[in-house]
Symmetry: C2
Subunit: 182 residues, 2 copies
Amino acid sequence: MLLEDIMEANWKFTHEIRPEVLDHHPQKHLAIVTCMDTRLVEILEPALGIHRGEAIEIKNAGNFVGGKHCDVIRSLVGAVYMLGVREVAVIGHSSCGMAKVDFQRLRDSMLAAGVAKQDLDELNLENWIGSFPDEKDNVLHTVQIIRNSRYLPKDMPVHGFMIDIETEELTVVVNGYQQIKR
Amino acid sequence: MLLEDIMEANWKFTHEIRPEVLDHHPQKHLAIVTCMDTRLVEILEPALGIHRGEAIEIKNAGNFVGGKHCDVIRSLVGAVYMLGVREVAVIGHSSCGMAKVDFQRLRDSMLAAGVAKQDLDELNLENWIGSFPDEKDNVLHTVQIIRNSRYLPKDMPVHGFMIDIETEELTVVVNGYQQIKR
């Protein structure tokens, strides 16, 4: 059972490792907004040269922002005004599962798992799920929503990156410093 | 400049490491829902015995769910029906910044950073920011919202854990297997 495996791994970890006690303010004043994809787990931080205590991490399906009051903006408000974040890095990746979602297949899977047709009909699945046609355009969109938020500082750099999910190579999509200068 | 530091670290990483090419379906069929806190970065996975390719990770301010259509539920729908997730672990932590938020201080910080008073008044900050009185109760609440979601399978175990932010010791708050049996 997975629960037992996790507890056993944790027992071993806590009996072998004594972590450094750190403050909750990220020392590089950085917030990372990225995808929940399992291929970014454990590897994103070394691929960016970021360590524990240096940045906060916001992760959801497709590093997607659902509008001006969405959860990413809420989390960033907490990060900026309570934790001292001064810079944001939005990181999309190639081959994202949220790009070009097959709605019919998703709908069929939900119905097969027992979701009621009425609940599904009420959901407006196509809008709600947050699919996008292109990963790089989605990074641009996410950067723009964060930059234009009325609740975040106007002079905060918001960078956009794409990461190659196979090689972990980063490409700059938006240089947030240049955006600020305009 | 942080952007340049990140690009330099990435150049080094990609010239030294050739990551294993993995599928985007997490091999342990697990979704982790946890907090954006910087003290969980890099250390949560080894503290759970979870590796790249095994679990997806959803992270926001306070491992918080803002209702039945919130971003965490959206991400879990993607994880379950498109990535084969069959089990969820909600992981709260001690000393969470979203517990007992000082609203007056947050409001003052936002105004000082240039947020317009009118925009702030329209926001209903106290409700929106997702503060909670107690970290463990918040894990129970998050587990309950996920378990009761009409869009997720009824027989999916949703576990709740607390992790000690200093020692990384895990405690089971909700054993999702037992909940399913009831």
